[in-house]
């Protein structure tokens, strides 16, 4: 009994780490650009395909594969703001954007998903583990692949938080999140910060896609359910609140994993949405959210 609990907790933390990479990216983009990126999971899928291309097709080795996936999605992400969001922003001027960006990124999601389907086909691609072997702990065992996921997730998230706290550009990103107009008036170029933030956010998704590829299969729609779940997580944690998203993601991962012991596994996926609806009814700003929403 306790061994399986420990098993589920470890699996849950890994799952939570994955959720955190995606949810923190979504929350970061929302906090800075005030845009909910419906196409976020598609960058997860692109990351998976990039790692497949470099590891399986080009035999480059997993480290290069993960780096290629992260860099590739970062570059793709850099293109999204100037090509899609900026034109709409210019056209709207000072008018409220409402849900236009939601519909816009929904279009991007449909476009990317089916673009991947056209380019790579619909097969479920399998990728060998980046690292092999299993670590034996006193009362459970973990595959090195899962540990690697967790370690890289921690490094990436730690790096992001350090960048936001310490680096000049990170400071600019936080300034824009707080007040875009004031940030602009002290000489921060909004467009550049928006583009950079978006690229950083989706690169996190691309990296997690590359990390999870051996555990999931890679197929065009692999990311979308994760996007939807990450929305639930960001709402529970408070929109735009990165620490909230991180904590909510880890808790959800463990709860989902443990829930299998109590409820049928096919209902696992409903937990996040139930939590989201509950939080929205009781505390719409999220468990850790600020009372005043932007």
């Amino acid at each position: 009994m306790w061994e399986s609990v420990a098993d589920f907790v470890v699996q849950g933390i890994v799952l939570g780490g994955l959720y955190a990479l995606i949810a923190v990216g979504i929350s970061l983009i929302f906090g800075v650009l005030d845009v909910i990126n419906v196409a976020h999971g598609e960058f997860f899928a692109v990351g998976g395909y990039l790692v497949f291309a470099s590891v399986v097709l080009m035999h480059l080795g997993p480290a290069l594969g993960i780096a290629a996936a992260t860099a590739g999605t970062f570059v793709l992400g850099l293109a999204v703001y100037p090509l899609l969001l900026a034109p709409l922003r210019r056209r709207l001027g000072r008018r409220p954007s409402g849900s236009l960006y939601l519909v816009l990124t929904l279009g991007l999601s449909t476009f990317m998903q089916n673009g991947l389907l056209a380019l790579a086909g619909g097969e479920y691609l399998q990728i060998p583990p980046h690292v092999r072997g299993i670590l034996d702990l006193p009362f459970t065992s973990v595959s090195y692949q899962r540990l690697l996921v967790l370690a890289i997730a921690a490094v990436l998230l730690g790096g992001l938080f350090a960048f936001l706290k310490l680096h000049r550009y990170g400071l600019a990103v936080r300034a824009v999140a707080q007040d875009p107009d004031a940030a602009q008036s002290v000489g921060i170029v909004l467009g550049r910060v928006f583009g950079l933030t978006l690229a950083l956010g989706v690169a996190l998704a691309g990296a997690s896609g590359a990390l999870m590829a051996p555990l999931f299969n890679v197929y065009p729609a692999v990311g979308f359910p994760l996007t939807v779940k990450a929305f639930a997580i960001t709402i529970v944690g408070g929109m735009g609140n990165l620490v909230g998203a991180l904590i909510a993601a880890l808790v959800l991962g463990v709860v989902e994993s443990l829930a299998v012991m109590v409820i049928p596994s096919q209902w696992q996926n409903a937990i996040a949405f139930a939590a989201m609806i509950g939080v929205l009814l009781v505390r719409p700003q999220g468990l850790l959210g600020r009372a005043v929403a932007r």
């Binding site: 056209r91 409402g98 279009g107 991007l108 056209a118 929305f231 139930a274 719409p284």
Partner: protein, 332 residues
């Protein structure tokens, strides 16, 4: 012709022309496409009623569609209910689910509402997938009766089914246009879209009207689902995937928001185009959906309806501006 009669006459002419289609092109494939296009038109119009008119953006219409389809298929298969009564059951079931979703969603606006409706639709889809005894799980419900009394011979059957769907869709669209243009709800919906707080200050019962819009919209989406259930005679959870919602939104944006007829025309054209492109490959259809969503949101936010109305005509200009604000005013 007076100004109020004109849309009526245009609509009647369009319906008569549509009713004559089986005589103009008596081909079962064309009739199947046309029937499904009509079902999509109803779904897109139902989305427009809620999201285009009141500005409450729903990302969950696939869920309402699914509730209608499953309710109809289940009562006909398990309880032997006549499909004609099944239409009513499915519509009411979806309408009630819509009210149930709308009620907690009353406090939410913009982004949050869209995400909550998306979450609800996912829960509905998961329920459909997991409630084996009622829904048949991932394989869905099949092998039940379709509309009774239709001819057996294939072409005649298709033709009759097409007319049934056309009659129901046309009547539903007439009801929606009537509700959104010529009742007290019409002004209330627009007022809520433009400024909810101001609307409430002016004495408009915003809660009641938002619930009304939610219930009506979900009900009509469910009706589209029941028509789908009885026409295809197979309902499976994949029908309620998020792709269905984005296709419906794509059609509505393409056609022009806040007009009802715009999304209808958008859906018919879009579905027709989709099928015409099928020989190029199914994948490319959805790539096109994505492209149209992006291009139209950025450059043509008023859709085809806006383009049609952009010739100088004083009466239309107000509606035109409204259409653009349909999506634009729901910021939190």
């Amino acid at each position: 012709m007076s100004r109020t009669r004109r849309p009526l006459a245009l609509g009647a002419a369009a319906v008569m022309l549509a009713a004559a289609l089986p005589f103009i092109v008596p081909h079962p494939f064309v009739l199947t496409i046309a029937t499904q296009a009509l079902i999509w038109a109803l779904l897109a119009a139902s989305w427009d009623l809620l999201s285009g008119y009141t500005g409450q953006i729903s990302f969950g219409h696939a869920g309402f569609f699914l509730v209608g389809a499953y309710a109809a298929a289940a009562v006909t298969k398990h309880a032997g209910v006549s499909p004609w009564a099944g239409l009513v059951v499915g519509t009411l079931a979806a309408g009630l689910v819509g009210l149930a979703v709308g009620f907690p969603a009353l406090r939410l606006r913009g982004h949050y509402l869209a995400l909550v409706t998306l979450g609800f639709a996912e829960i509905i889809r998961l329920t459909a997938q997991n409630w084996m005894s009622l829904t048949g799980g991932p394989f869905g419900i099949y092998d039940y009766r379709t509309f009774p009394g239709l001819p057996v011979e294939p072409l005649a059957h298709r033709r009759a089914a097409y007319w049934v769907v056309l009659a129901i869709v046309a009547a539903s669209i007439a009801v929606m246009v009537k509700t959104c243009e010529h009742t007290p709800a019409a002004k209330a919906f627009r007022a809520i879209r433009e400024d909810e707080v101001l609307a409430a200050t002016l004495g408009i019962h915003t809660t009641a009207y938002k619930l009304l819009a939610f219930g009506l919209s979900a009900g009509f989406a469910g009706l589209a689902g029941t028509l789908y259930a009885y026409y295809i005679v197979l309902v499976s959870p994949t029908v309620g995937a998020v792709g269905t919602t984005s296709l419906a939104i794509g059609m509505a944006v393409f056609g022009g928001l806040g007009t009802i007829w715009g999304p209808v025309v958008g859906a018919l054209l879009f579905y027709g185009l989709n099928e015409a492109l099928r020989f190029v490959g199914v994948v490319y259809n959805l790539i096109a959906v994505g492209l149209i969503l992006m291009v139209f949101v950025i450059f043509v936010p008023r859709g085809l309806a806006g383009a049609a109305a952009s010739r100088p005509r004083r009466r239309r200009s107000a509606a035109r501006a409204g259409g653009e604000r349909a999506l634009g005013s729901t910021g939190n």
